[in-house]
């Protein structure tokens, strides 16, 4: 494999001059420079899939918003991380995440420690912009420690990636398409019967919502150890 030479590139984010390495994404360089860009599916240490579109930014000369987590930096580019259009688009994206499944926070174990909920406070999204679909999916509570509730899943695929890339089990994947897409174990078998799952719990830690959670703990006790994965990867020297 020919290694592409990593070069240093200079460009602007919100009129601030920044530099980064050519293999870095706009998001990484922004974070290095303490410029905040909201994210959802992104988790430091995992691969980037650009599935949620929360991190969209404007790049001068481009007609459409670009996800900062997957876009590599370019010399001389001018990036804007916030504008009325971008803010409106982010709100719409978030609103669609809420409407697709049923997010009744008051009855959810992740209440208070949910990235979806937190985002709606940060943006802020005061009210829903699209009607709720009120879909109903079956909950898988077969596993002795964990529960998979597709009704709260935002299909960020963090769980799939951590299981594949870090645990090396690839017990999870997406099945179906469109509105009916779901996280499944093996051949859509009950979690408890999954031959490939090692019950490590990493998927539960990284899930931004209450879709994957630990059994028998109350709302107050729920602590999602999302950073644990990032730390793990750093320690492995990846």
């Amino acid at each position: 494999m020919i290694r592409e030479k990593v070069r240093v590139k200079s460009f602007k984010i919100n009129d601030i001059c920044v530099t980064g390495q050519s293999n870095q994404s706009i998001l990484e360089v922004a974070r290095d420079n303490n410029i905040e860009i909201p994210t959802m599916c992104y988790l430091e240490g995992l691969s980037c899939v650009g599935s949620c579109r929360m991190c969209i930014v404007e790049i001068q000369g481009s007609h459409e918003p670009t996800p900062a987590c997957t876009a590599k930096i370019k010399e001389g580019m001018e990036v804007t991380t916030s504008s009325p259009q971008i803010e409106a688009a982010r709100k719409m994206i978030l609103s669609m995440m809420f409407s697709e499944r049923s997010h009744t926070c008051s009855t959810c174990v992740a209440n208070g420690d949910c990235e979806l909920q937190n985002k709606s406070v940060e943006l802020p999204l005061e009210h829903s912009q699209v009607p709720y679909l009120n879909q109903r999916f079956e909950i898988d509570a077969s596993h002795k420690n964990f529960v998979n509730d597709p009704n709260r899943c935002i299909l960020c695929t963090r769980c799939i990636r951590v299981c594949d890339e870090i645990e090396g089990a690839h017990a999870l994947d997406l099945a179906g398409r469109g509105l009916n897409m779901r996280i499944i174990h093996d051949m859509d078998e009950p979690w408890a019967d999954s031959q490939s799952c090692t019950s490590c719990g990493k998927c539960v830690y990284v899930c931004p919502t209450g879709a994957l959670y630990e059994k028998d703990i109350s709302e107050e006790e729920v602590i999602k150890k999302r950073e644990i994965i990032t730390e793990l990867i750093k320690n492995r020297g990846k």
């Binding site: 799939i160 594949d164 089990a169 690839h170 017990a171 999870l172 994947d173 997406l174 099945a175 179906g176 398409r177 499944i184 174990h185 093996d186 051949m187 859509d188 031959q195 490939s196």
Partner: protein, 157 residues
């Protein structure tokens, strides 16, 4: 029927081998498996996953993403008629036509009471037993117009 005695798995194995056990040929293999079996059962998908050394969930995800793939026939029971060369020469098309007429549905369809799905496949790998139909996963060899309807009636009764 166990995988080792089922000729359809030999046929499938051959097409996987022809593609060099290449992970990226998954979709092509799912196609030929559906042609061989009429649909993609869980055992078939697991077989493919282990031959290609792919995670179960990945194979299942791909198979459920495309509308073209059928994971199970809709009906409570199913009959798969082989339209491969050997069976065709021995009149399997007539057998299919007869079944279609009798139950008022076309191949790929399910009766309105969801009792029976009629599917077709291209060679189960049991050509010496042609013409062959498969009733709920059981191979019925050397079938005739009469015996085919008898077997189906037996199955759905």
């Amino acid at each position: 029927m166990s995988i080792s005695t089922d000729d359809r798995y030999n046929t499938l194995e051959k097409s996987i081998k022809k593609l060099g056990y290449d992970k990226s040929s998954l979709i092509e293999i799912l196609h030929s498996a559906q042609e061989t079996f009429g649909y993609l059962g869980i055992d078939t998908l697991k077989f493919i996953a282990s031959r290609l050394k792919l995670p179960y969930s990945k194979v299942y995800g791909v198979a459920t993403f495309y509308n073209y793939f059928r994971l199970k026939p809709k009906g409570k029971h199913n009959v798969v008629v082989c339209l491969g060369t050997a069976c065709y020469i021995k009149g399997s098309n007539k057998i299919l036509e007869n079944i279609e007429r009798r139950y008022g549905i076309k191949a790929g369809e399910t009766t309105s009471d969801e009792a029976l799905s009629v599917l077709t496949a291209r060679c189960f790998g049991s050509c010496s037993l042609a013409p062959v139909i498969v009733c709920d996963d059981v191979i019925k060899p050397k079938i005739t117009l009469e015996s085919s309807t008898r077997e189906i009636e037996e199955m759905i009764k």
